[in-house]
Symmetry: C2
Subunit: 152 residues, 2 copies
């Protein structure tokens, strides 16, 4: 199998999208991360889902579990609504983040090695700077399990 | 909402299980990671899915993309079958890995802050050293999106 065989179409975001939109896109697509594209829909960055959370959770709560615990339950469900128009671009520090990508003909081993090395559960499938789709950890692991001999 | 409200039951592995079994359990459960339990089913470790891949992909391929590319497609689908009985315990270096967990009454903010801080898309819900369930990134993000005001 090749990356193109297990790639799926995924919704994307841009640097101008709000972090709240990014959270919603990830939720709606049930994605393990997000692909950030430019105005021509060329892929620029792949953000693991936990990195999207890092954008959405105010830093003080990440650094201090006691502070997070002090917020009452009703407000704790809505913390990410209070991002005040913060955009993905605001959070992606210049030079940080990368385009975790493979060619369409990459093997499952190449995809797995890349995900393992870069700790990214999402990989963009890119050809000639165009986004063809994405491989999720879920699809990769499912495909590996199917490829294996049955009954072992 | 609290962690207990969005927790799901997940299959687990032990340190004695093979890495091949761990990959299959993750695939079958469509999980973003794995919870490692001891003989009494007490949770010991939470492994993000990409860390499970790090166990399954021979180190040489992770370090050298050209080497991974040189493996033909048929063999590339089956690389992880050649782990020769390697166990999860063989791969978890002593002291490395941690039990990423919350109490059942933790808020969504607490769960999100923990996932963000420890970069783990899976969190164990633990009470009195017993595993009550797990919160996945998918469930958390979906719950956050549902909790938000509609139509924004």
């Amino acid at each position: 199998m090749q990356a193109r065989d297990i790639a799926v179409q995924v919704p994307t975001v841009t640097l101008e999208d709000s972090v709240a939109t990014a959270v919603r896109v990830m939720a709606l697509g049930r994605l393990p991360g997000l692909i950030v594209v430019d105005g021509q829909r060329r892929p620029r960055l792949v953000l693991p889902g936990t990195q999207v959370l890092r954008m959405a959770v105010p830093r003080a709560y990440q650094d201090d579990p006691a502070l997070a615990r002090a917020v009452d339950e009703a407000h704790a469900d809505l913390f990410w609504e209070e991002l005040n128009g913060l955009t993905v671009g605001d959070c992606v520090v210049r030079g940080v983040g990368r385009l975790t990508s493979v060619r369409p003909d990459a093997t499952l081993l190449e995809v797995a090695a890349l995900m393992a090395r870069l700790r990214s559960p999402l990989v963009a499938v890119v050809e000639d700077h165009a986004l063809l789709g994405a491989v999720t950890l879920d699809r990769l692991v499912g495909s590996l399990a199917l490829a294996g001999p049955p009954g072992e």
